[in-house]
């Protein structure tokens, strides 16, 4: 990635010079760090860079619906510290969130509200079903409980537990980070004809 302040073109005259001694051997202690160039340039693929940025600044939408929300709050606290993974910015507005953490029992009365909040989140977005209830209805095999939030919205990571420990949530978050890291964020738009049809995107090759 190239920051805005520096020129994307590297002049051969500005690049680091390797001075040669009298004997002709390379003296590595004289290897000059050129801050003008090296501090500002990273060579990578756009996909990798975009994914790297996305996965390390996931802003969660805390959809706390039951006791799992207590563990979600514990995960954000200092002992477990979800900010180590760049996901500490809990946004209570769906329009500023990347990942919805559905933590708790989704009742039928709440189900369409969860769906609505999900629909309001901007792409790209991910969903973590935290705990047994959000994943499958859990112990609530009943008339009042949605049997898993995946019946309404696509789920990326399921976390088992009733409720899961904060470590489990962090593990789930790391799994999601791995998943995001392997996504074809830009290449996918170009290569996948189905994706193009779905999103109505036209990108010429």
């Amino acid at each position: 990635m190239i920051s805005k302040s520096s020129s994307p073109v590297i002049s051969p005259n500005v690049g680091p010079q390797i001075p040669t001694g009298d004997s002709g051997d390379v003296d590595l202690t004289d290897y000059v760090y050129d801050s003008k160039v090296e501090g500002n340039i990273i060579f990578t693929r756009v996909d990798a860079a975009i994914n790297w940025m996305r996965k390390n600044s996931l802003w969660p939408m805390p959809m706390g619906l039951a006791c799992c929300a207590i563990e979600l709050m514990a995960t954000a606290s200092s002992r477990f510290d979800i900010s180590r993974f760049g996901a500490e910015v809990m946004r209570f507005s769906p329009r500023q969130a990347d990942v919805m953490i559905v933590s708790g029992t989704v009742t039928y009365k709440m189900a369409l509200a969860v769906k609505r909040v999900w629909d309001q989140m901007p792409e790209p977005k991910w969903c973590i079903a935290m705990g047994a209830c959000a994943s499958s209805g859990g112990m609530y095999r009943s008339y009042a409980t949605l049997q898993g939030i995946d019946r309404l919205i696509p789920v990326d990571v399921y976390i088992s537990g009733c409720p899961p420990r904060p470590e489990a949530l962090i593990d789930g978050l790391m799994k999601l980070q791995d998943k995001i890291g392997s996504e074809k964020s830009l290449m996918g738009l170009k290569a996948d004809p189905e994706e193009k049809a779905v999103k109505g995107l036209e990108i010429s090759r």
Binding site: A111, Y143, R151
Partner: protein
């Protein structure tokens, strides 16, 4: 017999169906038409100033089918009295929300879950399920897995997969292995 039960019987003897004492808990079963008068009397003259809870029971094939249960207590928690009223399916119950304001939501819950109606209730609509939900889910004939409904833009329900359930723990089993939750195979 407790002092409270005796006094209720003195004043409303003709409406008392039966009384019962079980491990220090006193219950008076009364007729539906006297419910409001008895409740008022309990609050004003027996110091039973607090309405702890209202619930309802569905006896399914017994006549009358339903039973209302009112739990009363004194403010210092020293005395308790349980009042029961048998209700047939087509009968309505007088609201006591004008005696205890807290009865308002309790009666709404009974209406929502069991379908018992309360005469003169100020706001008798569903409290847990949404307006328009067609069933009363705590009635005995309603399946645990639920029934499919759909109200667009409001809510929907589905049928939960029971997978051989419901899974029931046997608390009286002698060892933990046989006490573990087992499928009843009722689905």
């Amino acid at each position: 017999m407790s002092e409270l039960v005796k006094k209720v019987q003195e004043h409303y003897g003709e409406y008392v169906i039966s009384t019962k004492e079980f491990r220090g808990e006193h219950t008076v079963v009364i007729k539906n038409q006297a419910l409001k008068a008895v409740m008022q009397y309990c609050r004003d003259h027996l110091n039973l100033e607090m309405l702890l809870d209202i619930c309802s029971v569905d006896h399914e094939d017994v006549d009358p089918r339903f039973e209302m249960v009112y739990e009363l207590s004194t403010l210092d928690d020293s005395k308790h009295l349980r009042i029961k009223v048998p209700i047939s399916e087509d009968e309505e119950v007088a609201t006591i929300s004008d005696i205890w304001a807290t009865a308002d939501w309790h009666e709404r819950e009974v209406y929502d879950m069991m379908g018992i109606k309360f005469t003169d209730h100020p706001n008798l609509k569903r409290i847990l399920m949404w307006e328009g939900y067609p069933y009363h889910p705590l009635r005995k004939e309603f399946p645990l897995a639920g029934k499919p409904t759909d109200m667009p833009d409001v809510a929907f329900t589905g049928v939960a997969p029971m997978e051989g359930g419901p899974f029931v723990t046997s608390s009286s089993a002698c060892d933990t292995v046989s006490a573990e939750p087992r499928a009843k195979g009722e689905s």
